[in-house]
């Protein structure tokens, strides 16, 4: 069953007189439960693609269909609600809220939906990620790796159908990287989640079920379908 489909997705930026083609006609289909790695050089359009899939950015043309719904026609708030229910984001630079402690950061998307957080589930995630003792720590009291794990915990806690992760191991040492990836994989398998992950690390990309290569905004390798 297709959960993510893009059709001829383009994103052009105007930079002075030049037009930057961040995405230039990307068509992609992701099946439910798949674990996909998107690889490519810096500036190849990986992050832009991920943002388009999550409805964080608006394409210049083309469509993004998530779970059967074309998100390009949604209003800003519809997109936001859709995102918090369907998608879990792991940002490269964590984007933790500095005023909230670890636990509050994690349960925020759930609270935003007016749902009472599943405490046991959240605590399990915290334990799995080795954050059990940091539950009430503030983000500025954590190391980069710990913050990355909190960001991941936040993405997993709402049990979203899709996890979009932008370089989730970019700031982690190799051992922690393996742990985090293992966790993403296990969680994906257990909850039937679809994972789309950006990485420039070939070794990590190998852990995915499918690898898609991007170059100059186009898919130039891997298996797009």
């Amino acid at each position: 069953m297709e959960i993510l489909v893009t059709e001829n997705l383009r994103k052009y930026y105007q930079l002075g007189d030049a037009t930057v083609r961040a995405l230039d006609g990307v068509s992609l289909t992701v099946e439910k439960g798949e674990f996909i790695a998107i690889v490519g050089r810096s500036g190849s359009g990986k992050s832009t693609l991920l943002h388009m899939l999550g409805g964080l950015d608006v394409p210049t043309s083309g469509t993004v269909i998530v779970d059967g719904r074309d998100i390009s026609g949604m209003t800003k708030d519809e997109l936001t609600i859709f995102r918090r229910r369907k998608i879990g984001f792991v940002f490269q630079n964590y984007n933790l809220l500095p005023l909230m402690n670890v636990y509050e950061n994690i349960i925020l998307p759930i609270q935003l939906d007016g749902i009472k957080p599943d405490r046991k589930f959240v605590e399990n995630i915290l334990e799995m990620l080795g954050l059990g003792e940091k539950k009430f720590a503030m983000p500025n009291q954590l190391s980069g790796g710990q913050q990355q794990r909190v960001a991941l915990a936040r993405a997993l806690a709402a049990k979203p159908a899709i996890i979009l992760a932008d370089e989730p191991t970019g700031n982690l040492d190799s051992s922690t990287s393996q742990d985090v990836l293992g966790l993403i994989k296990v969680s994906g398998e257990q909850l039937g989640q679809t994972v789309v992950m950006i990485t420039h690390n070939e070794e990590i990309a190998q852990m995915a079920g499918r690898i898609i290569r991007l170059e100059d905004g186009r898919i130039c390798g891997g298996d797009a379908v």
């Binding site: 984001f89 940002f91 925020l108 935003l112 503030m138």
Partner: protein, 853 residues
Amino acid sequence: MMKVNNRKIIASVAMRTYRANKKRNALTVFAVILTTFLITAVLGIGISYWDAVSQRAIRMNGMDFDMELTEPRADQVELVRDMESVKYAGVAVKCAIAETYRDVSLDKTRLYWVDDTCWEKQCIPAYEFFKGSYPKKEEELVLSTAALEDMGIKEPEIGMELPLTYYSLAEDTERQELEDPVSAQQNISKTFILSGYYRDYSGKQYGYVSQAFYETTGVKQTDFTQGALKITLKKSLYSAKDIMNIQKPLDLQDRQMLIADDHIMQNFIRMAVGVGGLLVMILISGYLFVYNTLYISVSKDIRYYGQLKTLGMTSVQLKRLVYLQALWNSCIGIPVGMALGAAVSAGLIPTALRLINPGMSGMKIVTVHPFIYVGAALFSSATVIAGCRKPAVITGECSPIEAVSYTGLTKGREKQKERERGLKDMARRNMFRDRKQAAVILGSFFVVLTVFLCVNAVIRGNDAKNILNQIRSCDITVNNQTTLEEKLPLITEERLDEIRAIEGVKEIRPVTTAQMIVPYQEELLGPYYKRLYQSRYSPGDYEKDIEEYKKDPRALNCIFDGRFVGISPEEFRKINDTLGGNLDEEAFEKGETAIAVPFWASAEEAVGKKIRFFLPDGQEPEKEHEITVAATGESSMDGGNVIDDPSEYSGGYCPNLLVSNTLAKELMGDNILTEVVRIEYEKPYDKETEKAVKSVFRDEKQISFDSKLTRYQEMKSSEQQVKVLGGGLGIILAVLAILNYINMMAAGVQNRAKEFATLESLGMTSGQIRKVLVQEGLGYGILSILLSMAVGLPLSYIVFQSVKVYNMGYSLPVLYNLILFAVIIAVCVMVPPLIYQMTQKESVIERLRADVD
């Protein structure tokens, strides 16, 4: 060490940084404009307001001088004029009293002669206007508009004839009066020619005569209570020592006095503290306007400067970078703020005033003081530099890496308390995320609100209506001019009923009076007379006069008689309040007790004793009555509970006796005469009610009115100026307070753009974000209002107490304050979500990136 020429690159980096931070700089420039405008407009209008209020005070006084030497000798006049500290000294002599104009009885129009110095330097400056010239010929006369109105002349013309009767105030005539009252004090008829007229706000019926006329009266400048040397000092602030320095060489004789206010320095210091405090608060508001805007984004700046530091920029170079940006912000903001300040204070406000009162077209309304503009420019620049320096200083103090990761949040130990409120507590936590920042923001809101409260209290205190309410006990006083001579019953019971029936009349307080002959009573009034004869107002030789008095209470043309004054229960309550409220109203109404009102000396021994008296015009003229004196009003010379004698005409030297109207009616019977009635309206200054009251006495030429409304209308042009300036000041402060809120909120939203983008990326809808922003705004609004109520109101009370005049009570302009508070709450609630909506237009990812970049 070789000097490295890096000015160019610093300027280039500064320019790029400046351009990149357009929105931030726009807010800073706006804050600079607010600060410069605040100082130029508020101080400019404030000073003009103060000038207008001071000018009004001089006009209410009727003459501009600092001290007064009574009965001056020619040598003393010369001596004073030669003194180093004296600016002007002018002689004024009260020489006659005009009693009637045609068939109209006048309310004793006092006629003065003043020398050139007094006229030009001390009288003219106290007038709203003067038309004509000072009298030169014997028959020429200058009158105040109040005196002209008393004569029924509403549209005076220079050169018009004024047939008056008057009597001279020469001492010889007065002495003769005691010995032979029939031939003395004869009224002289004379047709004067009006050579000029003026308006001041004293409400006094004064006239000025020529030297030629003055010489015919026989009054001398050394005559008791008639002549005075009005002294204007070079420095209007003087101490008790300065008074002594002037008094010492003058060799004061007999009953001469140098009348000066020895509290003037203390009063000035008190006022200076109040005004100074207000000025400091205005400057603090101005400082916080700018500092706040810059402080909100301090963390961002530190991170940016940290980056530059990691690239090798030194602290000195960083400072230069900062100063350059501050300079550019100042170069845009300060001239705009100054231009706006000038446009409002010298353009908008005077135009508004001239539109209201075209008569003010030629007058200078707001004085533009260049020093205010220079001061505002310097202050604003200093504030911008101080605000900008902060991030550069912090960056200089920490390592480049610490600077790059600076968040402004204190790195404390992990909190032991588990907190799981998350979203619910977001607004509160946002407000206090950085306690210092919260304090600075709240401080800025609260200080300007407090300034508004203080200025409002001062403006309210200086409102002419409030001043008149304070110095006048009723809306209109209706006076029977025949009380002493013909004794015509002009204020009858029927007329009083007619007044009572007028819609809009709240209370009437009729006062009946009659002559009272009081036999000498040693135990009761002996000490009082001794004190009186020892005072400056001694009637003459104590031994001789009292001997005569003991023999005959009517001796010396009844100089020891008094007035038997009947008052209404309402009047009694007012007097009782002044005396401390201890008197028994029932006993007073029953006619068991009375209140004695002495002149110039205390009569305290009379309290509790019975006074015996006769009423020659009463039902039984020969019957001796007696009544217990329950209290005495203190003499004004001794301080204490000075009570206003409700009767207008004075009798002899015996203290007047205030009794209930019931007793007065009982003892006077049909001969009772209402001398005066005081009327209060439901709505003070109500024109319709006043018209109706006056019409009760239409065509009655021997009735005079003294109305608060007339006095207020005379002050109209000055009052309009005071009101427009004061109102302008209030509005500007309110607008600045609101603009400051908007600017702060805009800066706050702007600074948290990334946080909002993060929240949106996590699934927070714009509606949810707006809700949090509304809660935050509401929090700031409510907190700053509560703070300004808790601290601002007491402060406004202190400022009011220090700048108040006429012993006025503090009152709160509740409506204005509530309106401002409501507007602030509305702004706080509406502006943050509005700014969020207007500024956060890019996609989530663009906004997330923008901050990273």
